[in-house]
């Protein structure tokens, strides 16, 4: 970095109120690879290992390796406030009917109690179809399936304003198939609780 660049970086830092900043990448809950890209002016810094960190001080980036102990020390209160993780259930229907399978009947009871127990719970009911029929027809059908499950939850005492029913048609199959294939495992309704 030449002198004039350094001078303008320092000036920028002053203009920004001399804020010191820190970013720490946390291990992802599902164990998958993840990353944060920190962009400052023209600089780009990639944090792509658990606890990879950047401290920004008087306009300069200082990358370093943080750890669980530092995160705990600095951010315990912040992380303790994190809402409960969303959860997701999938219900299946008996062939050619709107009757849930026995396994899904049991799951339905768990879903009800989880919605009741979470603080300020909300749930999205997402209908899916197999690939028989047109994409447009499947969008409608998946919505109808979702609305049916939503109505079932409402009739069992779940407040309607907590629930949203959407249809995702055939675009998110559980089992990928060619078009027009009859696949029971794709005729499902997912309930995402948050």
């Amino acid at each position: 970095m030449n002198k004039s660049l350094l001078a303008s970086a320092l000036l920028l830092a002053l203009l920004a109120g001399c804020a010191n900043e820190r970013v720490i990448l946390l291990p992802s809950a599902d164990g998958r690879q993840s990353a944060v890209v920190v962009r400052t002016g023209g600089d780009e810094l990639l944090l792509d290992k658990p606890y990879a960190a950047n401290e920004r001080r008087i306009g300069l980036n200082i990358p370093y390796q943080s750890n669980a102990a530092e995160v705990q020390e600095r951010y315990a209160a912040t992380l303790a406030a994190q809402p409960m993780r969303p959860s997701s259930y999938t219900l299946y229907f008996m062939t050619g009917s709107n009757q849930l399978t026995p396994a899904s009947e049991a799951e339905f009871a768990r879903i009800k109690s989880e919605i009741a127990q979470r603080a300020a719970s909300e749930a999205r009911v997402i209908g899916h179809t197999d690939r028989v029929g047109s994409a447009e027809a499947n969008d409608r059908l998946s919505k109808v399936r979702a609305e049916r499950v939503r109505d079932l939850l409402v009739s069992e005492g779940v407040a309607a304003d907590k629930l949203e029913a959407v249809g995702r048609g055939e675009r998110e199959p559980l089992v990928p198939t060619a078009d027009e294939v009859d696949e029971a495992r794709n005729r499902r309704v997912e309930i995402a609780i948050r």
């Binding site: 804020a19 990448l25 890209v37 406030a81």
Partner: protein, 152 residues
């Protein structure tokens, strides 16, 4: 996959963000509160309590020893520690297609993030920003701190 779809997604996003700029649309909900937390909406200021919905452009401010947790509609989890100011600058999400865009600012304090469905489907349409930097994400959990940032 995402690369192949980028062009139509960009077109959809444009339409979606336009449609969702309407005032009053719910973008998330307060799920945890500790101590004094307020939501500022235009010139209004209201206490944040569990179950209060949030809208685009809301500012969430925590007091000393206070903290707040928010779940956005795409399952993004946000939580802020004491003396923080967080702004939801933009949030648009179509729950049918998982297409959306979001931009969240931290003016000061601490923010923990676990990204949701939008970041999974189109990470390029999600950003978090501090007074000096923009953070792009790839299916991510992280903490960010701004010490001595702006009060506004």
């Amino acid at each position: 996959m995402i690369h192949l779809n980028r062009l139509p997604l960009a077109v959809l996003l444009g339409a979606l963000v336009g449609a969702n700029a309407l005032a009053g649309e719910q973008v998330g909900m307060v799920k945890t509160v500790r101590g004094q937390v307020s939501i500022e909406r235009g010139s209004e200021r209201m206490p944040a309590i569990v179950g209060v919905p949030l809208q685009q452009n809301d500012r969430v401010r925590t007091g000393d020893n206070a903290s707040v947790g928010v779940t956005l509609r795409d399952n993004t989890l946000l939580s802020a520690g004491p003396r923080s100011l967080i702004v939801i600058d933009k949030f648009a999400y179509d729950s049918t297609t998982n297409v959306g865009a979001m931009s969240v600012g931290i003016r000061r304090g601490t923010l923990a993030v676990a990204t949701g469905k939008i970041a999974k489907a189109t990470p390029e349409s999600v950003d978090f920003h501090t007074p000096t930097s923009v953070l792009g994400v790839r299916g991510t959990e992280f903490v960010v701190e701004v010490d001595g940032g702006s009060d506004e």
